[in-house]
Symmetry: C2
Subunit: 302 residues, 2 copies
């Protein structure tokens, strides 16, 4: 059978387009979800001068888009991440999304832990490159009347919105939340990650029971970092120093020490928590669904 041809294009010389990979770098600090943005230049023929934008660049000749995203992170952001931490979140192809030329963008999301990239996050904060995701998407916290969003370049607010939803699903179905934590963490730290990304207030007790039931997700470690399958719930004989990676209260550190709810999780108060690390499996069985996805009646956790 002869192949039907669309008659519009020569298959030996089809039209070519500009392709970019844009990267949404997300992190949780101080109980909030932050994104790394750059500010566009003020050149005369630059579109969206002075606007906030996601880092991105054009795909190379012999390069997968995932590698392009890694290159963007290395060259334009200053981050080195594993390929497995990057997740494709969307394709953006409206013909007029870039006023200069026809540009199709593929968006990637990466979650970085405050602990693993402490110096980067401090530097980005000092340069004003960290923005609260909820304020960019929904507007300010008390913006019932006035929308105080700062507008982003191109359709990057759409990319950010879909990236946040993508990450919320990732936290339901995979162990992506561990990318936002140090190698050893407590269940409270893990719950605060889910609270921040889902914009939830999960019940601490119920969270412990749900998350420890998922097989292959997390495993308890002794204070010195050795995993123990049957580690006792109350470490009575432990007097050694706990090898805990603490969170730094880098934001809101204006010495008003008791208004930021979940600023410094490990300040040696109350019963000492157990410590956990990743148990290896990337997919959660069963998934850890957001509040309200099971029951249809209204709940207080939603």
């Amino acid at each position: 059978m002869s192949e039907m041809q669309s008659a519009a294009f020569d298959p030996l010389d089809p039209p070519k387009r500009a392709i970019t990979a844009d990267v949404v770098v997300l992190t949780v600090v101080d109980g909030n979800l932050w994104v790394v943005l750059q500010r566009r230049g003020d050149g005369a023929d630059e579109p969206f001068p002075g606007r906030l934008s996601l880092p991105g660049t054009f795909v190379g000749d012999e390069e997968e888009l995932l590698e392009t995203a890694q290159r963007v992170l290395r060259d334009k952001v200053g981050l080195t991440v594993d390929a497995r931490q990057l997740s494709r979140s969307g394709v953006y192809d409206l013909p007029d999304r870039d006023p200069r030329m026809r540009t199709i963008s593929v968006a990637f999301v990466v979650l970085i832990a405050e602990h693993d990239h402490r110096t980067f996050i401090d530097t980005a904060r000092d340069h004003g490159q960290l923005y609260q995701v909820s304020k960019l998407i929904d507007g300010g916290e008390d913006s019932q009347i006035i929308d105080q969003r700062e507008p982003m370049a191109f359709d990057h607010v759409d990319i950010l919105t879909e990236a946040r939803e993508h990450v919320r699903v990732l936290l339901e179905e995979t162990d992506a939340a561990l990318d936002l934590l140090p190698p050893v963490f407590t269940l409270t730290q893990l719950r605060e990650i889910y609270d921040a990304v889902w914009d939830a207030s999960l019940n601490p007790g119920n969270f412990i029971k749900r998350v420890t039931r998922i097989d292959g997700f997390i495993e308890q470690v002794s204070p010195d970092g050795i995993s123990e399958a049957e580690f006792p719930s109350s470490p009575i004989e432990s007097d050694a120093a706990w090898m805990v990676y603490e969170s730094v209260p880098s934001f809101n550190s204006v010495s008003t020490s008791d208004h930021a709810g979940s600023g410094a999780p490990s300040r040696r108060l109350g019963r000492p928590p157990r410590h956990f690390r990743s148990a290896g499996s990337a997919k959660l069985h069963p998934p850890l669904r957001r509040p309200g996805s099971y029951f249809s009646r209204p709940t207080s956790q939603e």
Copy 2:
């Protein structure tokens, strides 16, 4: 702040790539999932001569990729579908996936109902363009030893594999199953769609209870097509002809009438079923999960 540049590309003249939209046309006939494929030509400089491939073409200048997919369906397949029925299922960007040039493909999936496109399906079957998805992906049914898959061109078997998984999730979370049925259908017809796409054998009684509980998914209609909110379960007073769109046993119609399990659903045997139509809402609350996604223990429905 000066914008960092990757130094590899001129932002005013970035490298350009060929972009295509490939379409995975799926339908359920005779209890199986089928895909529409084309066979590549035997030209000397054609890659993958004679291989099976998904229909696709290059994106136009002022055209979204979704519109490209619609154009492919109209010009190369001979189908006219609504834009809402098309769903993006993946991006394929390996540098060497097309031996001719660097080509990045975006895949779309569309589900067509046997009833709505009966002449098209008959024509496609006569031209040998319909293939069973499970045989292309997994091999033949009894291929424990011999893999009798016919190889597909490019990475189209990967596209097809991810498209099937995409559709399986679509049937969990949206009313996409209704795209595979006529406007008025029975619960048995709907269950056979889920059985075919999920490769499941859902319990008929449990399926009825689950699916009728989902608010806004389907609503019962009287035999003449008028919806009734409180339609009685047993239509005692009905003697009029039922306006039912019946399935045609177009495949396996070799007169061995009792071996193809779910060939012709409406053959006037047993208790007459109720009839339903779409209730409008695209997203299902709660979703209709596949067997085994809730319980962790092994089940017989899986």
